[in-house]
């Protein structure tokens, strides 16, 4: 069953917070992973790997570069 965007955002925020110590409340749809949340490429790949497992989705490597903001990732996962 597909998850709502709110549910995906909440789950993604938990992953990001675990990896970076950024408060879950800071992880909002408009935030850029690199510019706002200061997440480097290895951490981004870690978050992607954990998100794939958590949401049981496949995020192709070539798609990751398009996931600029948290909202991009939430949209992709919710639609998958």
């Amino acid at each position: 069953m597909a998850l709502s965007k709110d549910e995906v955002l909440a789950g993604l925020a938990e992953i990001v917070s675990e990896e970076t110590d950024i408060d879950t409340a800071e992880v909002t749809l408009d935030k850029s992973f690199t510019d706002d949340l200061d997440i480097d490429s290895l951490s981004m790949m870690t978050i992607v790997t954990l998100a794939e497992e958590k949401f049981d989705v496949r995020i192709p490597d070539e798609k990751v570069k398009d996931l600029v903001t948290v909202g991009d990732a939430v949209d992709f996962i919710a639609a998958a």
């Binding site: 675990e18 990896e19 110590d21 290895l42 790949m45 870690t46 790997t49 954990l50 794939e52 497992e53």
Partner: protein
Amino acid sequence: MNVVVTGLGTTSPLGGDVASTWEAALAGRSGVRTLDNDWNEKYGVPVTFAGQLVVRPEEVLSRPETKRMDPSAQMAIVAAREAWADAGLDQVEVDHDRLGSIVSSGIGGVWTMLTAWDTVRDRGASRVLPLTVPMLMPNSPTAYVSLEFKARAGAHSPVSACASGAEAIGMGFEMIQSGRADVVICGGTEAAIHPLPISAFAAMQALSKRNDDPQGASRPYDVSRDGFVLGEGAGVLILESEEHAAARGARVYGRVAGVGMTADGHHIAAPEPNGAGQTRAMELSLERAGLTAADIVHVNAHATSTPVGDMIEARGIRGLLGAHADQVLLSATKSMTGHLLGGAGALESVFTVKALETRTAPPTINVTEPDPELQVDLVRDTPRALPEGDLAAINNSFGFGGHNVALVFTNS
């Protein structure tokens, strides 16, 4: 150029810092406990105890730190932060191009490596986390220390099994003497209490199997010793050129006066039976320190509690020191901590520096009947006082592969 010790740090089976570890050592407490897991029932792991940290790194590090670093690197960071602050280096400006990091591990990121293999096997390669390689590589602890303190003069991690931590300190001494650095953060770490290393050491008959008496299992020089007890943790020393320390008015514990490093070239795991390589390391360390055997008042022995190894070293010490060995206080602190492998030489260097600073040799516990061949004055059960005046001590560390490292410390 003189090299002084200005900072100490540890997290060990006796405590989460130097003060608590040293206090427990002087009290003769054992840090060995039964493991709280099902490895024996599930896999038949034959040894069910180890020297385990009192304070887990996750209690003092942030969540991302515990996720990005293997436990071996986590422990190194905990010890390095303590040593850095202890040296007062958090209060001054440091030339980072003249700051080095040499933190070793004997085994490396074994938890990360084997947990990642579990992931590949059970959940597929796509679930392996991207930070796996930087976590499992054996230079990870020194790299993270270098990152944290911006140590840009060089980051090294000599690997020599159970001599690794001592070798790191020896190389730190040489790095300063050669003019490559003014300050070096050096030491060793190990986090190998995992079913595979335990099974593998047990397969070599290297481990004590006293499952019914964990705290009595590590008994160096006792007639009934039956192998070492695996321990975990890290020790870190801040070494500094005497000029650099003086210029910033640093508190000085003492000096690293010399190091001797040799190899047996004899056998992959067994020490050379006459201890020639070990003795040569001790001789070289004294020569380099400009001292003689008569100057030595204390030895922190490698003494892991194995039937063969303990007496080879003890005979070597007696051979080197001659009748003076009767006046030398010998301590085998692995009786309390277990054997920290790549962390051992570093933790025992912390003990040696503290012994000279406080003029107190820590005890060796569990020796109910000393080996009749032992001809050195063994400190048993309670600490004993070292003499007044200038003091010098040797800390020995030896490793599988025939690695021998002797470090000489002085109190002035």
